[in-house]
Symmetry: C2
Subunit: 160 residues, 2 copies
Amino acid sequence: MLDLGPVIGQSRGMTHPTLRRTARSLPIALLRARETVMGPVREMLATSGVNEQKWRVLRVLDEGGALDQSLLAERACLQLPSLTRILRAMEDQGLVTRATDPDDRRRSIVTISAAGEAVLSDHAAEASEIFDRLEAAYGRERMNQLLDLLEDLTRTDKPG
Amino acid sequence: MLDLGPVIGQSRGMTHPTLRRTARSLPIALLRARETVMGPVREMLATSGVNEQKWRVLRVLDEGGALDQSLLAERACLQLPSLTRILRAMEDQGLVTRATDPDDRRRSIVTISAAGEAVLSDHAAEASEIFDRLEAAYGRERMNQLLDLLEDLTRTDKPG
DNA sequence: GAAAAACGCTTAACAAAGCAATTAAAAGGG
DNA sequence: CCCTTTTAATTGCTTTGTTAAGCGTTTTTC
């Protein structure tokens, strides 16, 4: 596991008193938490033919319906250049289709295909099990609290 | 900001009832939260001569003292192959030194140098300010709660 | 209504991540 | 001991992240 050794107060070293313990650094804490959670998810995705990024694209499209690439990129936490390449691959795989918006021909609207939906269907149960196991180990109460706090944080710093 | 549109219950689409809203998917929520937080941090690092990964390496070494690469990789959330390449660069920059462990010559022990410490010193105050601003906007209470929950989560799934 | 600015997406170039395979050293088992 | 297995780190190859520039389209401004 992630062993941070004897951590009381400022642990050892810590030549810089203004720097917090890494476990109390929000960016690092978020990253570690994600690594912790992603293990079983990656195993699941390994059997699905899509990687982490493509999975997020499918999830977001399933949730939000047809989207232009900018919105899709933001919601899937992908940069536009990456998304361009990923969508080209996904189009080739038949997971999504693209069409230029007739009202604004700069925009291209991405739609999930039946095959894309099928990828989600095929692994929805397993994904759900993974989450349930984690929730059971971590505590349902705390899981909901954590998700609430994360949602709030995502809202806080980007006032709409 | 990250506009998830009208999200009541399962929002629209959502052909797969076993899949949760993406904002309630822990991997996605953690990723979005991190993206939200990293903006000002990246600005700070831009003036520091080290990138995000190298900054994490310095932070972890400062906190934990000299470490072998496997431990360092785990604590800094880097894969061993990535770390190998990053450390080569950091050695060239004079930020760290490496020495093979005499007791186990497979291991190489990484130590932060004075120059590495200096990078931390030079930006510790700014890093602290960034955190304080975010904490003020988000709420100190909630920030501590969030960090507690994240620490617990990282422990939960990797029972030591 | 034409020039200028802004926008949405793509491309290009290079660093970094991810994954599989490889090397070198240590541990185990007969 | 030797042989096999495990472990720590590195290398190779492909995909992704990042930044800047480019190209068509729309909006602004005068």
